[in-house]
Amino acid sequence: MRFALRRIGFFALTLWAALSLNFLLPRIMPGNPVESAIASLHVPLTPAEMNAIAAQFGINTHQGLVSEYFTYLGHTLTGNLGVSFVHYPTPVTSYIATGIWWTLGLVGTATILAFVLGTAVGAIAAWRRGSRLDSTLPPLLVFTTAIPYFWVGLMLILVFSSVLGWLPSEGGYTLGATPTFSLSFIGDVLQHAILPALALLITSIGGWVLTMRNTMVGTLTEDYVRMARAKGLPPHRIMMSYAARNAILPNLTGFAMSLGFVVSGAILVEYVFNYPGVGFMLFNAVNGSDYPLMQGLFLLITVAVLLCIVLSDIATAILDPRTRTAA
């Protein structure tokens, strides 16, 4: 219980840090790019919107920094992230909502696949220590973890779209198709998701395999494994319930760490594939100097990552009693 409270406190603190970063960044940067973005804006801002922008970016402020800060916190915590400049007058929150499901679907599927496949392969590699699989896989995977995400995406487009013409190279679904719950539309969406998901899978699976393999090489030498052997348990049981099960725990903790990488990969991959998720949105916001949207997306991505870490924390606590008493 104390552990849970401490974790909650930590996440609240992180959230506050992210909010404050968002508030401070435009203020400490040289010049004020938001000002010029507003100047080039051909839309009439209402006083309320102007007030929100003032709180967010410190433009035309008649308030002190401190009261601005609290106005900003108030706005953000009540879900008011301002109005998108480019998609005026759509509020940032409702614009982001159109992209979030695409990203969750794509990144979620790719990450879970990478985790499950990678952990399984890593466990097998460690179990068959010194086999051909185990000696060829690690160097290869060390290489794949060093490949830039976006380049994998580009190469997949090159091979499967440009040269072979098997799969579509951009978008979340065929242009002009109406999103419905029909079988053909779902098939279309899946077809468009294959290459981006593959790009994420290729670059992120290596980390899972290597961590799992190296941890399990360690657990295989533990006394409880020796004991299991001495008891004459069948090998698959030793592998699954004794060695692998204990080796997964650090992998789960690593899950939280790796999320940042997956998110950054997702941004680049979505950009390469013009995938309609939040990553591509972030790129477009940056490109169009849509500062409210850009900062809203940063916040949203941070919150999403924090939530995932909480989930993996809970999973670790359920699977590993030691973490409940430690820390």
Binding site: A18, T145, M155, I267, F283, V286, M294
Partner: protein, 350 residues
Amino acid sequence: MAMPISVSSGQPTGLPEPSALPSAGGARGRAARGRLITAVRRNRKATAGAILLVLFTLVALFPGLIPHYDPTRIFFGAKCASCYSTPALVQSSPSAAHWLGTDLEGHDVFSQVVLGTRAVLVLAVVTGLLTTLIAMVVGVAAAYLGGFWDGALNVVTDVLLVIPLFPLLIVIVKYLGQSGNLVLILVLTVTGWSYTARQLRSQAQSLRNRDFLLAARVRGERSFYIIMVEMIPTMTSLLLACFLGNALYAVLAGSGLQFLGLGDPNMVSWGTTLYWADSQGALQSGLYLWEIVPGLCIALLGAAFALLNYAFDEISNPALRPLRAKNTARKKAALAIPTVGGLASDEQAS
């Protein structure tokens, strides 16, 4: 911040890395360096990584070794009726004169790749060094000082650790405007030290109550001296591994930002070359090599750092080393508790 690949980095709270512990002092330090070089030569992953790194370094230091053009020189295409200007500015396909073709402005792409090596390598090495340095100061200070400072530094480290860095980088770099190498290095360094700091902190913590540090304290040495002369030298191999991980991170994150068009578009660097390739439609016009080669260079340089990093993990953690032939022959026995287990438990004991 390094990729969570290895055991030691997968468990930030981890056990002491014993092989990193001894070897303070001159003669022993030299012997350790000798052992390190031998170990690198014996480990095939390390050899491959080292060769790649040396090759790239040579090209970065002496780009003249590979014949290339001035990357700003404009090559005009043949006259054509349908072009806007005569002589025409056209992208050209790879040829004997232009191995990777030219871009829309008539610049030779191969020359950009050759000259881009330096920018990328500087970004990687300087960012790697600076991040590791900051992480070392924060991590070791937290572990050594303990108490309030440990708590405070830890909270800062942990918060930075869970905030997704790439979106943050995008936002910061957008505000700063198109960034050259110097700005990229600064931004990557300021945001990217937390993971390493955590690793170094747990390593330093495991050292805290060792006899040679107690002895130094009893001698009445100042904290600064103890940290710099007694603690840091014992962590050399971990520091090296962290440097490699951070350099890899810098290559990938920096190139990613440049690819998104957030770098200085006039700078010659692999990520920028890819940005131009993508925005000038290289894939659509069939100029595949323009997209393939710079990306492959990033991947190879990254692989050099990653391979060395992974190999160092194997070198410093004997349990991970590939089994020798006689062990693999006895397949089932390869789980050889006597041999492998012996090493591993020795380690935990120390």
